[in-house]
């Protein structure tokens, strides 16, 4: 599914300064094509994560709109948008994002647990396949408190992919991973993109450029094209 941002920008008001508005993302036009891995690089605080959240339906833009195909997702009501995210969008957020009361396979199958449209047991084989690919198959029944940062990242990646969504948004997906696992994760995202999914990755790892089909750079909320380093 093609994702298009038309003039999508975001202003915030600094809580400590009352009415002091600042622009995190300037009005941005960008297209994320299915079958391609789109990379966004930039410094910390440049607005990359904000743009990712806008594109993935998690943060309504102050200006502009975001289209999935021809649908403006921010015109949906909350229930419809949430349902849309559940089915069509996989998000790998920054940091540790496990549900502490669920074991690894429970965390991976979370989108199905929320939607309740499929017997959980029927999705276990694919969950196990993803765990195998990500090198965490031995952790199926382990609780998040017992996992390392890298393992938790890979659980979040599997969770984003479990529903085979049309679009995957990854915010620093390799930040806790060693080189071997970084290559493994980026390779998996690249393969997913090659299978027709729109993949959008935010990172500051320059090595990721080798996996990108399209890449952008963001500075002070403004996006610009960056030539892939092939």
């Amino acid at each position: 599914m093609k994702i298009t941002a038309q003039g999508a920008g975001k202003d915030f008001i600094r809580q400590s300064a009352g009415t002091n508005r600042f622009t995190a993302v300037q009005p941005t036009d960008i297209e994320i094509e299915p079958g391609k891995l789109t990379l966004l690089m930039g410094r910390s605080g440049s607005g990359k994560s904000t743009l990712l959240n806008i594109l993935s339906g998690l943060l309504p833009p102050t200006t502009g709109k975001v289209l999935y195909g021809n649908d403006d997702i921010y015109a949906f009501d909350d229930v419809k948008l949430s349902d849309f995210r559940n089915i069509h969008i996989g998000v790998i957020p920054q940091g540790q994002t496990a549900i502490q009361s669920l074991d690894v396979i429970g965390n991976i199958c979370l989108p199905y647990m929320l939607k309740r449209d499929t017997e959980l047991k029927s999705v276990y084989p694919y969950a196990r396949e993803l765990m195998e690919r990500l090198g965490i198959s031995h952790l199926e029944s382990v609780m998040p408190a017992e996992l390392s940062g890298g393992e938790l990242r890979r659980v979040a990646i599997a969770r984003a992919m479990i529903r085979k969504p049309d679009a995957i948004f990854a915010d620093e997906p390799t930040c806790d991973l060693d080189d071997e696992n970084t290559a493994l994760v980026l390779g998996l995202l690249k393969e997913t993109a090659a299978n027709g999914t729109s993949v959008f990755v935010v990172t500051h790892e320059k090595d990721a450029l080798t996996y990108a089909d399209v890449s952008y750079r963001m500075d002070s909320g403004k996006i610009s094209s960056e030539k892939p380093n092939r």
Binding site: I99, S101, L114, K115
Partner: protein, 401 residues
């Protein structure tokens, strides 16, 4: 999807210690509410039973025997004791205006009997004129008492068809009265012929001084129902003014002390329930608030996975429902296990008529406790649920940078 696959269930069981503390807190709240309402309800039922059993508007007793306190102990609480006046007073009272029904009673106190480990009060009544005991006896025995038949209070350990011996006279237990929740439950009722026989036998055995008493010419207490068109106060004043050497009491005044105590105990219990409820509400509110606040990131993750704002609220409220329902049901069971087996002890310690309510009333008390406890939990969780439904996922995830 099975319950065990629901996220709320996993959250509740996954945070065992936190959930257990909240369950215990709700259980305490429910137990205090069910115990409190059952005690108040039992006191009310006891008072109603006492009022119904006394039946009369006015009671007349000999002035010489009356210290009101003793009189009330004997009449209201069934304490062992007796006093007598000449039957002519009965005729004088009956001749006054405003009296619809009038009936005498004669009190005896037994020595230790074959069936009873403690001495008990024997109350003789006149079946021809009685309007206070007979309705209860008819209800229990299904008819009039024959000579040497007795009707026993509910707390006596004899059964219908058994015999019971007073002063060597064997009497048949014709009926057992309903419980009143007072010491009247240890009294024995019989007709005047049987009383005569007991007095005669006690004199023969030399066991007491009833020999001075002529049952045909003595009464202990005269019960009066006031006729329509007359006020109880009017008749009471008339009797106290014109029938000398007697003292008349309004039944309602006699039990007003009991009623006042009941109101006092009810108020105290009400205050305690309210205090426990408010305290529980505050603690549950803080517990849910802290729990939800500590899981903000988790709720943001749920949003990324497709949970709507409504769904997030639903998760919080379902967790609260699971916890408070478990706590409330446990608390109600604990409350019932305290009140039901120990109601005798409670009656003794309160010194008030205490009669467990009917099953439907007890069920209403339990349902009330359930509603109050679960309600407190749901109100406490509602703010947190609302707050978490308003979270801005993007900002929370961004705040983790």
């Amino acid at each position: 999807m099975k319950l065990t696959e629901s996220l709320s269930f996993r959250n509740v069981t996954g945070h065992g210690a936190r959930s257990l503390i909240l369950v215990i807190l709700t259980a305490l709240m429910a137990a205090s509410v069910v115990c409190g309402t059952l005690v108040v309800s039992s006191l009310r039922t006891g008072l109603e039973a006492l009022e119904a059993r006394l039946g009369a508007d006015i009671m007349v007793v000999p002035a010489s025997a009356v210290s009101k306190h003793n009189f009330e102990n004997i009449v209201l609480q069934g304490s062992k004791g007796y006093f007598y006046m000449d039957r002519s007073y009965y005729d004088k009272v009956a001749a006054r205006e405003g009296i619809e029904k009038i009936s005498p009673q004669l009190f005896l106190a037994s020595a230790s009997s074959g069936c009873c480990s403690v001495p008990l009060q024997i109350i003789g009544y006149d079946p021809e004129t009685d309007f206070t005991v007979s309705p209860w006896i008819k209800k229990s025995a299904g008819g009039e008492l024959k000579d040497l038949d007795v009707v026993v209070g509910n707390d006596l350990s004899v059964f219908v068809g058994n015999t019971i011996t007073f002063y060597g006279v064997t009497c048949n237990v014709a009926a057992k009265l309903d419980k009143t929740g007072t010491d009247l439950d240890t009294a024995v009722y019989t007709n005047m012929n049987t009383i005569r026989e007991l007095i005669r036998s006690s004199v023969e055995l030399g066991m007491n001084e009833f020999g001075k008493i002529d049952p045909d010419n003595s009464v202990s207490c005269i019960l009066i129902k006031v006729a329509d068109g007359y006020s109880v106060d009017e008749v009471l004043n008339d009797l106290n003014l014109h029938v000398r050497r007697t003292k008349s009491f309004k039944t309602k005044d006699m039990i007003s002390g009991v009623s006042d105590s009941l109101i006092g105990v009810s108020d105290l219990i009400g205050v305690l329930i309210a205090a426990v409820w408010v305290l529980g509400l505050v603690i549950l509110f803080l517990a849910f608030y802290m729990s939800v606040n500590g899981r903000k990131k988790e709720f943001a993750v749920l949003r990324t996975a497709g949970a709507s704002r409504k769904k997030l609220s639903g998760i919080v409220m379902t967790e609260a429902l699971m916890i408070t329902l478990t706590g409330a049901v446990s608390g109600i069971m604990i409350g019932l296990l305290i009140i039901l087996p120990f109601n005798g002890l409670i009656e003794e310690s309160l010194g008030l008529p205490f009669l467990l309510p009917s099953l439907p009333t007890a069920f209403i008390c339990a349902a009330f406790a359930l509603a109050v406890s679960v309600g407190a939990g749901m109100i406490s969780a509602a703010f947190s649920a609302y707050r978490i439904s308003r979270i801005d996922t993007g900002l929370i995830l961004r705040g983790d940078n």
